[in-house]
């Protein structure tokens, strides 16, 4: 019964942390890779939930394909999230980070 507890706790923390990092990271490439990690965690969740079909799909589509098309998009556009110079200047004045 209990052998699953620790892996699940790790998985929960990993997935949520990756999701949060995907949202806050300023570098889009990192954000995309952590979205892939979220998918990977999800795929393991599906495996634990006795859904090998869905786990396989999520691994193939969520982890591989989605990440790839995101990366292609980033290569075509830009890697840095923040483009709003005015706002970052205000942040500096307020003594925000950097």
């Amino acid at each position: 019964m209990n052998w699953l507890v620790i892996p699940i706790i790790v998985l929960v923390i990993l997935t949520i942390a990756a999701a949060i990092y995907a949202v806050i990271s300023k570098n889009l490439l990192y954000a995309v890779v952590s979205t892939g990690v979220v998918s990977l965690g999800l795929s393991m969740f599906f495996f634990i939930l006795q859904a090998p079909d869905v786990a396989l799909t999520e691994a193939a589509i969520g982890v591989a394909l989605t990440t790839i098309i995101f990366i292609i998009t980033i290569r075509n556009t830009t890697e840095i999230e923040c483009c709003d110079e005015k706002k970052s200047k205000i942040d500096v004045k307020k003594g925000g980070e950097k």
Binding site: L56, T57, A60, I61, A64, L65, I69, I72, N76
Partner: protein, 238 residues
């Protein structure tokens, strides 16, 4: 500032209700629902051991037809959105520089293996986990590997659209055949065979193979469209 406040307000409301509702749904309980019927009938009548496949291809096969159409439309729409007129003398350039020799050889070795794996996955969709979608995606990954390691590897769009169209038409026509034979759309009209046998499940296996080809072709086309656009000078277009 105001906007941020509103966002948190909305999230708080949505979050509160979702948490409240979801916590009332008992976890791990065996509810009485349509799933039991499928678990009961799928091995005994359809002779399909993977119940999920039976649902995806047969009981809710219409959904799958729609799903394949969604992918088809996404590939079409993406090509329409990304379409650009070619300037004079312009050629399709993909990656800036060719990959290293090691990657090229590696992907050459891996390519057939991945294709085989994909084919295995979608041929055995009714027996083991996996099926047309998963297998199709795996094959698309193989061609992606070739695309990024070889600069000159060209996807033949004509072949792709033939595969795509034929696979799609096979799917719909198998459905219509049921209709012509006096049954219903997408109904099984072939003998179902033995459980856990490769040739079982009637049209389910055939449909899943068609789905596999279609998904593979669509995704390969989709990735190629995205990659063809992948060049810095294209960004400067106004």
């Amino acid at each position: 500032m105001m906007k941020r406040f509103f966002i948190f307000l909305i999230l708080a409301i949505v979050g509160y209700y979702i948490v409240d509702v979801v916590s009332q749904i008992p976890f791990g309980e065996n509810r009485v629902n349509v799933g039991d019927y499928y678990l009961d009938k799928s091995p005994s009548e359809l002779k399909v051991s993977n119940t999920v496949t039976a649902i995806v291809v047969n009981y809710r096969g219409f959904d799958t037809l729609g799903e394949v159409t969604v992918l088809f439309l996404a590939a079409t729409g993406l090509a329409s959105i990304m379409f650009r007129r070619k300037r004079k003398g312009e050629k399709d350039i993909r990656a800036k520089k060719a990959s290293s020799r090691i990657i090229q050889i590696g992907s050459q070795i891996l390519f057939p293996i991945i294709i085989l794996l994909g084919a295995y996955v979608f041929i055995h969709g009714h027996l083991s986990p996996g099926g047309g979608f998963q297998g199709g995606v795996i094959i698309a990954t193989a061609s992606l590997l070739m695309l990024i390691s070889y600069r000159k590897f060209k996807v033949n769009h004509s072949t792709i659209s033939w595969i795509e169209s034929i696979a799609g038409i096979v799917f719909v026509l198998l459905g219509v055949t049921g209709l012509i034979l006096g049954k219903t759309f997408l109904e099984n009209f072939l003998p179902t065979g033995e459980l856990n046998n490769l040739l079982s499940g009637g049209i389910i296996g055939i449909i899943y193979v068609a789905v596999g080809f279609k998904v593979a072709a669509e995704l390969t086309g989709l990735i190629d469209t995205l990659l063809l656009n992948n060049r810095p000078e294209a960004n400067k277009e106004k």
